[in-house]
């Protein structure tokens, strides 16, 4: 018999990871109406920053060799810089373009980053000895709790609270939302809108850095495509949570992760292969019942 509490914990841990990615997707969507597929590549690049860029399959460590506070800082800084660069070069000139154009431009950015990374590192997955101690599980009352997952959950909850406060209560948060909705009008009110939006991207880079560290600590591997599925799941999460609502994004991410684990745990063996189909069917179902998502933001409503 499966230990139900253990399953719940597993579910919550994966849910938190997706929630963290979804938070970044939701944040950038909130400030630019952009579903940023390149978010996945930010985190891939962050992970690869741990090793020296070479074609070798067993590369020496770069940031990964530093004491952990410096390593974290190095990875976060890398992700933030990449996020800012993509904002400046690709997304800023496209501000206020229609959503399809924005979306496609983020594909292009993602395609670029992925293949540039591939040119440097080759497509072969690499492995890295990092955070093994964090990956170890501790046993609490018979429930196995891997350190990474504990950290993931704590980080997710605190960042969610932090971001909601930032956006709702601080001047820069309100300015960010204003610039998101109507860039020109925000400028007419004296908001330094370019900086404010860049700040939003920096935050998404920050989140990407955190996720890449957590992922690497969990899997110990680097792969050019490691960002894709988390971002796809986060993408679903943001929409079922309610586009433009951070709490919604986090909730959506949580839900997607939890569903995936519960299906994995409780589906009969023959159907387990179809686990993901279940998750995606759930996405469609949620949208049919609540087309604006679980926590619709006021942005998504329209007065006639």
């Amino acid at each position: 018999m499966l230990n139900f509490i253990q399953v719940l914990f597993d579910a919550a841990a994966l849910g938190s990871l997706y929630a963290l990615v979804a938070l970044a997707i939701g944040l950038v969507f909130g400030i630019m109406r952009l579903i940023n597929f390149a978010q996945g590549d930010y985190l891939t690049i962050g992970a690869y920053a741990l090793v020296v860029p070479t074609a070798s399959v067993t590369p020496p460590l770069l940031f990964g060799a530093l004491p952990w506070p410096l390593m974290v800082a190095g990875v976060l800084a890398t992700c933030i810089i990449v996020a800012l660069l993509t904002e400046r070069i690709a997304f800023r000139p496209l501000r206020n373009a229609n959503p399809a154009t924005l979306l496609i431009s983020s594909f292009a950015v993602s395609y670029f980053l992925q293949h540039a990374l591939m040119l440097v590192h080759t497509g072969r997955p690499k492995s890295i000895a990092m955070g093994s101690s964090l990956a170890q599980a501790i046993d609490i009352f018979g429930v196995r709790i891997p350190g990474v997952q504990l950290v993931t959950m704590t980080v997710t909850v605190s960042l969610l609270i932090g971001f909601v406060i930032l956006l709702k209560k601080t001047a820069i948060g309100i300015q960010m939302r204003a610039a998101a909705e109507n860039f020109q009008m925000a400028r007419l009110l004296g908001v330094r809108a370019n900086k404010v939006i860049a700040f939003g991207f920096a935050l998404s880079g920050f989140l990407a850095g955190i996720v890449s560290l957590l992922l690497v600590a969990q899997t110990g591997t680097l792969d050019i495509k490691m960002g894709i599925m988390p971002v796809i799941f986060a993408f679903f999460a943001t929409v079922i949570g309610g586009m433009g609502s951070l709490a919604g994004a986090a909730l959506g991410g949580f839900l997607v992760g939890v569903t995936s684990v519960l299906l994995q745990a409780y589906l009969p063996p023959d159907l387990r292969a179809f686990r993901d189909a279940g998750v995606f069917a759930l996405v469609i179902l949620v949208l049919l019942v609540r087309p604006k998502g679980l926590i619709p933001s006021s942005a998504s409503r329209e007065r006639v």
Binding site: R124, P125, A135, R144, G220, T221, M226, Q264, P269, R275
Partner: protein, 376 residues
């Protein structure tokens, strides 16, 4: 002077498949150069030409067609069945011997691509069979748990082979359970929970996967405190991923050869040395030897047939019965163009490296049903 023999390679020089095509290709070039240095094949020099498929099926088909058009005598295609097949089809339709560097799927052969298609590799099923038999007979393990990565067909085949062999040796009840995951799952916590909640723990876990997902799974299993022996399929061979599971022990698989100088067959160790001399590095992957033997196998048949005429060469190759080549004894029949019982080098992980254990040849051979995975 006779016209040189042409070999065409429709393989990936970029994209993810390059990692798999690259090493055997280099080894194949080594063999070609050796033959040329020794005076050529039947007195004719061998030339070769490569067209990059960029890990795309469309490119693969085009590359195949172009090489056929250029009149190659042997067409070599990608490691992977899915990406090699489009090119192989072109070769087969033109009745040119077509060989895959390391596809592990019997459909790269008579029943799938056609009668002129071969693969230098063994069937994925036999990887599972070999390690299952070895674990039961030599390691004395009685029960097993199977963790199956559903992402690609190769894994499913390896798992099918493992299950069949394990049940053959220990009965239905000796498999304590099955679970599935996907290569890009960020976490397999739920699978580990199921494993740990089994009423009795198995003697071993068989993980059929490939990197990076396989490496990540091994790391997570060990991090969760599961110290059971882990058995794996051949794709997990070679040291490059061991960083992700520091201090890994009790990990076994069936491989072609050892890159680390401890292969019980001296000719293998010489191969590694030659490779270092030619390419300034040891082979990146032990799959390399398959490329070397691919050329060996075809060249031998050409010599025997006295020319490159496809039908004659085919006839010779179809009669190989434990024909000795570097990678090991090789057999083909008119029905089957893949190895099912070539001896394996069992390897285990110790002190952060793979170590050769011993050569082992499986006695249980997969039936056609198992090879084509009918009824599972």
């Amino acid at each position: 002077e006779e016209k040189p023999i042409q070999i065409g390679f429709a393989i990936a020089e970029s994209g993810w498949l390059h990692n798999y095509d690259g090493p055997p290709f280099k080894a194949a070039v080594m063999r070609i150069e050796e033959i040329n240095k020794a005076g050529g094949l039947n007195g004719r020099k061998i030339e070769y030409k490569v067209i990059d498929t960029k890990t795309e099926r469309e490119r693969s088909a085009t590359a195949g067609a172009e090489l056929v058009e250029a009149g190659v005598d042997l067409l070599v295609v990608s490691c992977d069945y899915d990406f090699g097949a489009p090119a192989a089809l072109a070769g087969n339709q033109a009745k040119i011997i077509t060989m895959s560097l390391c596809a592990a799927d019997p459909k790269m052969g008579v029943q799938g691509v056609g009668p002129y298609a071969f693969t230098a590799n063994s069937a994925a099923q036999s990887e599972g069979i070999a390690i299952a038999e070895y674990a039961q007979k030599k390691l004395g393990l009685k029960t097993a748990y199977v963790l199956e990565d559903l992402t690609i067909e190769y894994n499913k085949s390896a798992c099918a082979g493992f299950r069949a062999a394990w049940i053959n040796g220990g009965g239905e009840a000796s498999i304590l359970g099955n679970d599935t995951f996907k290569n890009d799952d960020p976490s397999i916590a739920a699978q580990i929970t199921r494993l740990k909640s089994l009423p009795t723990q198995p003697d071993a876990v068989f993980v059929c996967s490939f990197t990076p997902g396989g490496a990540s799974a091994v790391r997570q299993i060990r991090a969760a405190g599961v110290e059971l022996p882990i058995l794996a399929n051949t794709a997990m061979v070679d040291n490059y991923w061991l960083n992700s599971a520091p201090g890994l022990k009790n990990f076994y698989l069936a491989a072609f050869m050892s890159l680390y100088g401890d292969d019980p067959r001296p000719e293998m160790n010489k191969f590694v040395e030659d490779h270092k001399a030619r390419w300034n590095e040891a082979p990146v992957s032990s799959y390399a030897v398959l490329g070397y033997s691919l050329i060996e196998q075809w060249a031998y048949a050409v010599e025997k047939a006295g020319g490159t005429d496809s039908d004659k060469v085919l006839e010779v190759m179809n009669t190989y019965k434990d024909q000795p080549f570097l990678v090991g004894p090789t057999s083909y029949t008119p029905e089957l163009h893949i190895q099912t019982a070539r001896p394996w080098l069992i390897m285990k992980v110790e002190n952060e490296s793979f170590r050769a254990v011993e050569i082992y040849r499986n006695s249980f051979t997969p039936s056609m049903e198992l090879l084509f995975r009918v009824g599972n």
